[in-house]
C-alpha cells in the first residue's frame, strides 16, 4: 500500500502533516522527508492528523519519535488528531510520546490552540 503526505502551515508556527495510507518500511521515508522539510521551518507545533492513516509499523513510530525529539530542541510540540483505535493501542502500550496531545477532531485542536494563543498574549 502506498502513502501520500499532505502538509502545510495552518497558522503562524503551526504546521499540519497528514499521512494518507500505510506507514511502513516501504513508505516511512515519504513521511520523514516531509517532516524534515517542516522541521527546517522551526515550527512551534506540528500536528499529525492521522484520520486517513490505516497502519503504522515500527519505522513509522521511529519517525514520530524523531520528530518529537527534534521539536523539543527548540521547545516545539507534537500533537495528534484523529488517532485511529488500532494506532491508539500502540501509543497506549508503548507510551513513547509521554507528553503528547491528542485531539478527537481538528475543531477541538483549534479551540486548544486559540486558548493557548490567548494565554500567551
Amino acid at each position: 500500500m502506498s502513502l501520500k503526505v499532505n502538509s502545510g502551515e495552518t497558522r503562524p508556527g503551526v504546521f499540519s502533516v497528514s499521512p494518507i495510507g500505510s506507514l511502513d518500511g516501504n513508505t516511512y521515508k515519504i513521511l520523514e522527508t516531509t517532516v524534515d522539510a517542516v522541521l527546517k521551518e522551526v515550527p512551534d507545533v506540528i500536528i499529525f492528523d492521522l484520520e486517513f492513516l490505516d497502519y503504522i509499523n515500527s519505522m513509522g513510530v521511529r519517525v514520530l519519535l524523531k520528530t518529537k525529539k527534534e521539536l523539543e530542541k527548540n521547545n516545539g510540540r507534537i500533537m495528534f488528531a484523529h488517532l485511529q483505535p488500532q494506532i491508539r493501542k500502540v501509543f497506549d502500550i508503548l507510551n513513547a510520546l509521554p507528553t503528547l496531545k491528542v485531539f478527537a477532531s481538528i475543531q477541538e485542536m483549534d479551540q486548544y490552540l486559540d486558548t493557548m494563543q490567548k494565554a500567551a498574549r
Binding site: D24, G25, Y55, N57, S58, M59, V61, R62, L65, K66, K69, E72, K73, Q86, K89, V90, D92, I93, L94, N95, A96, P98, T99
Partner: protein, 183 residues
C-alpha cells in the same frame, strides 16, 4: 467494598509514568543478510536513592499478524535469561523481569515484550551501561542488529513525570504481586 483490580488499566497508567530516556531501532536477523523483522525499543529508567535501579525496555516488533513470526519471537525472548545476559553484564546485574504484553492487549500487527534489567548501580552511568553493555548483550542474546541509541533530550521538563514515576514503580511491585500470586 472491594475495588475491582484492572491489570490493563493499572499497567497503562504505569507505562504512562515511565521516565523515557532513549529509544533505539533494531532488526531481527535470521541468518541471512536481510532482516526478518524490524522494531523499536523504548528505554525507560528508574533510579533508586541508593544508586541502584533498572532499565525497562519495551520492545515492539512488526509481525504482519503472522502467527509463526510471533511464535519465533516468543522463543527468542524465552531464551533471554539472567544466565544469557550475565556474561555481558557481570555482577552489576541483579535480575531481569520479563512481561509479554500480548497477554494484556492484543494488537494483531505487533509483538510487544517488556524486559526490565535491574542493576546494583546505574547513577551517572547510563550511556556506558546501555550503549556499551546492555545493547551488545541484547544483540548477542537475541540475534538483533541495533541502530545507534537515540537519547531523549535531557533538558526537557520531566519533574511531573519523575514524581509520577516514583509512585508508578511502587504500584508496579503491587501489580506484579497481584498478577503472579493471583491476587
Amino acid at each position: 467494598m472491594n475495588q475491582e483490580f484492572d491489570p490493563k488499566k493499572s499497567y497503562l497508567t504505569i507505562k504512562a509514568h515511565e521516565k523515557m530516556i532513549a529509544y533505539v531501532g533494531f532488526r531481527v536477523m535470521d541468518g541471512g543478510t536481510d532482516p526478518a523483522q524490524e522494531g523499536v525499543i523504548k528505554i525507560s529508567s528508574f533510579q533508586r536513592p541508593y544508586g541502584g535501579g533498572y532499565y525497562t525496555l519495551t520492545f515492539i516488533l512488526d509481525t504482519d499478524d503472522d502467527k509463526d513470526t510471533k511464535e519465533t519471537l516468543k522463543a527468542r525472548f524465552d531464551s533471554l535469561t539472567e544466565v544469557s545476559l550475565k556474561p555481558y553484564l557481570g555482577k552489576d546485574m541483579q535480575k531481569i523481569v520479563k512481561v509479554s504484553l500480548d497477554s494484556l492487549e492484543k494488537i494483531p500487527e505487533w509483538y510487544v515484550e517488556e524486559v526490565s534489567v535491574h542493576f546494583n548501580k546505574i547513577d551517572e552511568r547510563e550511556n556506558v551501561l546501555i550503549e556499551e553493555k546492555l545493547i551488545p548483550a541484547l544483540a548477542s542474546s537475541l540475534s538483533f542488529s541495533f541502530d545507534p541509541v537515540q537519547w531523549w533530550p535531557a533538558d526537557k521538563p520531566v519533574k511531573e513525570l519523575e514524581e509520577a514515576s516514583f509512585m508508578g514503580q511502587i504500584s508496579l511491585k503491587a501489580l506484579f504481586r497481584k498478577w503472579f500470586k493471583g491476587g
